[in-house]
């Protein structure tokens, strides 16, 4: 049935940590397979889902600083009437890059950080289904992110930055109105990011569906696993739609196609439909991971099981489906016709229902719980309250006549910041505090954490609260200046001050990371233990930081919150009592006999190839062609690399088919684009003959 003898058989498996298998091999005679897990190069070639998760998190925090700096420029420009900090043209670039960065390079990769790190752990697996593809997803994401971000520097400060808003409405983004290279960067960059997310979505879906440990049935999976799984499905189906749109836009701009050429009869609504069919599911892609995180944090610190687990899962699934039927609420004023407006208005009102279910469930979980207000809990409660405000303003948009007044004003800006900053980002930060000890072996300082939380929360409300008022007063979004006599000056100044308060809060987070790390090192790196918060998920059932092989042996799950129930039982008076100390239940990470997938050069090489193709498409097709050749060669290199099946060593003893590394479902199987499906390593003999290359590597 399920994953029975994967790590149970570990002792028979001969290969040991940390170097992983020592089969050296030179696919195409170019590279030896990288070795070891020490030093910075080991990060470049790692295929470990935990390290990849950490890299996603680090990259997202870096881009968060970039996007945050852009936000501060926006607020500086708008602080006073007739602002002159940046010109109108630059302003377009700044707010566009701010939005694109925050959505695609901050929230999404941060969620990917948690998905990568936690999904395999929460379902009790050793790694994701395709570890090398996982590494590729990260490098591909980084390539896309760097390409997009480089646009603000290339050819002068914000001269070639995308300038059409994050939704880049065509034909406004056609060559006629946006002649710089900016939108090309947008179109190409988002396509690359789309490939990264798509590959990762496929990988994670297969991981959750296929690699659950014994007894981990669907309705024993933690809510976070569920929400991340739904997110991956949304990505899977939403990304191709925006890919089509970006594709058409790229063709229009670079090769004179007519898709958005109004002169040739094109209809501007095409872009809007395609974008928002992606765009609304996208907002759930942004929020569902945070919902999942909150659903892990609140039960832990309320010391109660999550109220209405099944409702929680079902409402997530409902959101996943209903999210596809509301997109035109972004187009109420664009002339889609009264029938559409009415229908989408109603469907939008309905989608607030499953969202409300979640809020009520969190409240019910906290109700009469023994609450511990740790930093992660503060963030979780912050999400519940701030997201509710954003959800409510969302419901006011759903009423079409009302939205006709609100659309394109600061009221919309207030709405989506309450849901994205107040919901998604606060949730993800709460997740950082919650899982930090799991990933790094020490907690972040609670004192700094709480202080930083309050500063961020207060700054946040001062920044975006007033935007409700400004919007209702009629202030348009995406304008670079406003006049002094329009009555917008006061609240704009408040918002600007608030934004700098947020910046202080964010700086305090980074300071916290620095101080906590330093103090922990000075204290001689004390062990935080597997389960510092007395939590519930399987990820807490192994050592912190999680050893490379995750679990010492397979876990047999027999109910929801398995780990919690191993620790606690009920006495004859129905009182919860400690059944076993954590140290007895949790693994200590001492099993070094688990066979792990080897690191690989190819994921990062492929990522580099994609970067070449990207710049090539924008600047020079010859470069793109060279990049393509490079890519194809890398794909073959990837396929020819010994897949190094994690189970290969112990496994082949009982199947003497003489097929040494070419196990059909080893980690090097078909990639997301289906191209490398043609199995692996026709040169398996040379693996043996080149054994001596190990010493070189």
């Amino acid at each position: 049935m399920t994953i029975t003898d994967r790590t149970i058989t570990a002792p028979e498996e001969t290969l040991a940590l940390p170097a992983g298998p020592t089969i050296a091999h030179r696919p195409l005679g170019v590279f030896t397979r990288p070795q070891g897990s020490e030093g910075w190069t080991s990060w470049l070639f790692t295929v470990d889902h935990k390290r990849i998760g950490i890299m996603y998190g680090a990259a997202a925090l870096f881009f968060f600083l970039v996007g945050g700096a852009e936000a501060l420029f926006i607020r500086l420009q708008l602080a006073t009437p007739n602002g002159s900090v940046i010109g109108a043209g630059t302003y377009n670039g700044v707010f566009t890059m701010h939005g694109v960065t925050m959505v695609f390079l901050v929230i999404m990769p941060m969620a990917a950080a948690f998905a990568n790190y936690l999904l395999p752990l929460q379902v009790g697996a050793r790694d994701v289904a395709f570890p090398r593809l996982n590494a590729f997803s990260f490098w591909c994401f980084l390539a896309g992110g760097l390409l997009l971000t480089s646009s603000v520097l290339i050819g002068g400060w914000f001269q070639n930055a995308p300038d059409g808003g994050w939704f880049a409405y065509a034909p406004n983004t056609g060559l006629l109105f946006s002649p710089s290279k900016g939108i090309d960067f947008y179109a190409v960059g988002l396509q690359i990011l789309g490939v990264a997310s798509l590959v990762s979505a496929i990988n994670l879906i297969v991981t959750v569906l296929n690699m659950r440990t014994k007894g981990m049935s669907f309705f024993r999976m933690p809510v976070l696993t569920w929400m991340l799984l739904i997110t991956q499905f949304l990505l899977l189906f939403a990304l191709p739609v925006i890919t089509v749109a970006l594709f058409l836009l790229m063709f229009d701009r670079l090769w004179d196609a007519n898709f958005f050429n109004v002169e040739a009869g094109a209809d501007p609504l095409l872009w809007q439909h395609l974008f928002w069919i992606f765009g609304h599911p996208e907002v759930y892609i942004l929020i569902l991971p945070a919902f999942g995180i909150v659903s892990e944090i609140i039960p832990t610190f309320a010391r109660k099981p999550l109220f209405g687990y099944h409702f929680m899962v079902a409402s997530g699934i409902a959101i996943g489906f209903m999210g596809w039927g509301v997109w035109a609420h972004h187009m109420f004023t664009s002339g889609v016709g009264p029938l559409s407006v009415a229908a989408f208005s109603v469907s939008t009102m309905f989608i607030a229902v499953p969202t409300g279910v979640k809020i009520l469930n969190w409240l019910a979980t906290m109700y009469r719980g023994r609450l511990r207000f740790t930093t992660p809990m503060l963030y979780a409660v912050g999400v519940v309250s701030m997201f509710t405000i954003g959800g409510l303003s969302g419901v006011t948009h759903s009423i079409a006549p009302s939205d006709t007044q609100q659309t394109d004003t600061y009221y919309i800006v207030a709405h989506f910041h309450y849901v994205i900053f107040g919901g998604a980002l606060l949730g993800l930060f709460g997740g950082f505090y919650f899982w930090w000890p799991k990933a790094f072996g020490y907690k972040l300082s609670e004192a700094w954490g709480k202080a930083s939380f309050w500063v961020m929360l207060i700054g946040f409300n001062f920044t975006f609260g007033p935007m409700h008022i400004l919007g209702l007063q009629g202030m348009s979004r995406r304008i670079a200046t406003y006049r002094g006599d329009e009555g917008f000056a006061f609240w704009n100044m408040v918002a600007t001050i608030g934004a700098f308060v947020i910046a202080v809060g964010v700086a305090m987070f980074f300071w916290n990371v620095y101080v906590s790390t330093r103090n922990w090192r000075r204290a001689g790196r004390p062990d935080v233990g597997p389960d510092p918060w007395d939590a519930r998920g399987l990820e807490w059932m192994t050592a912190s930081p999680v050893p490379e092989h995750n679990f010492d042996e397979d876990i047999q799950v027999d109910r929801l919150d398995h780990f919690w129930h191993r620790k606690y039982g009920v006495d004859e008076n129905h009182r919860v009592v400690r059944a076993a100390p954590t140290s007895e239940v949790a693994h200590d990470g001492s099993n070094t006999n688990v066979h792990l997938p080897s690191p690989s050069y190819w994921p990062i090489v492929l990522g580099g190839g994609i970067l070449l193709v990207g710049y090539g498409i924008i600047y020079n097709l010859w470069l793109a062609a060279a990049g393509l050749v490079f890519l194809v060669a890398s794909i073959y290199g990837w396929i020819l690399e010994p897949a190094d099946d994690p189970d290969a060593a112990g496994h082949h003893d009982d199947h003497d088919d003489g097929d040494d590394h070419g196990d059909p479902d080893s980690n090097g199987g078909p990639s997301g684009n289906g191209e490398s499906a043609s199995a692996e390593e026709p040169e398996s003999e040379s693996a043996e003959t080149e054994e001596e290359a190990a010493t070189i590597g």
């Binding site: 297969v206 007519n258 094109a266 209809d267 059909p664 043609s678 199995a679």
Partner: protein, 209 residues
């Protein structure tokens, strides 16, 4: 007969081997990944087909339109060729499952050749349309038509490359019955691309209005 028996046992062993990893669903990771990927591809082609339908009628009365260029008999033949390649793909999968490696090679090559014939037909068609005045940039119909069918053609081409890679692997003795599932997975992709063509052919060529 005895011979087939043994090779069938081999195949059965190979199957247990493939499932030797005991995935939770019983489907191997690779195959599941392909299914999931094809799910995503549905929306990709869905988006392109919708774009085509949205745009095809947006041309002036004197513009080059579907009726001016389409050569239904020709495209029907090339569509038929592509359909047949699905059949030969089925043979390729079943022959490797039986352990008939030579048959597998023959059918892989045939499938690739049929696919290549289709792509060649498409290239011919594109040049013919171009000479009749329909370029990629001529009008909305041209852009939408070439984008959709060209995108599909690229998918077929990738499929051909994968089939040829399998063929080379087989020649080099690296595609035994234990890899039957690899062929099957690529077969899934191939059938998908064929089915998409049936949809495109119906919508684009058969019902141009």
């Amino acid at each position: 007969m005895a011979d087939t028996m043994t090779s069938e046992t081999t195949a059965a062993e190979a199957a247990t081997h493939a499932e030797g990893h005991h995935t939770s669903t019983g489907i191997s990771n690779e195959k599941l990944a392909m299914w999931v990927f094809l799910g995503s591809e549905c929306l990709l082609f869905g988006g392109l087909i919708s774009t085509y339908m949205f745009n095809k009628g947006r041309i002036g009365p004197d513009d080059v339109g579907p009726d001016d260029v389409f050569d239904i008999p020709f495209t029907s033949v090339s569509s038929f060729v592509l359909l047949m390649s699905s059949l030969t793909m089925v043979f390729a999968v079943s022959s490797i499952a039986r352990g008939d490696l030579r048959g597998n090679r023959i059918w892989l090559a045939t499938t690739a050749a049929l696919g290549a014939t289709f792509v060649a037909g498409q290239v011919y068609e594109f040049t013919a349309f171009y000479s009749e005045g329909l370029g990629f940039t001529t009008n909305l119909f041209g852009s939408a038509f070439y984008a959709l069918t060209g995108f599909h053609g690229a998918h077929v081409t990738i499929g051909i490359i994968m089939l040829m890679s399998l063929y080379v692997m087989s020649v080099r003795g690296n595609l035994g019955p234990e890899r039957a599932e690899t062929v099957e997975i690529i077969g899934l992709y191939w059938h998908f691309v064929d089915i998409v063509w049936i949809v495109i052919f119906t919508i684009v060529y058969l019902f141009p209005q």
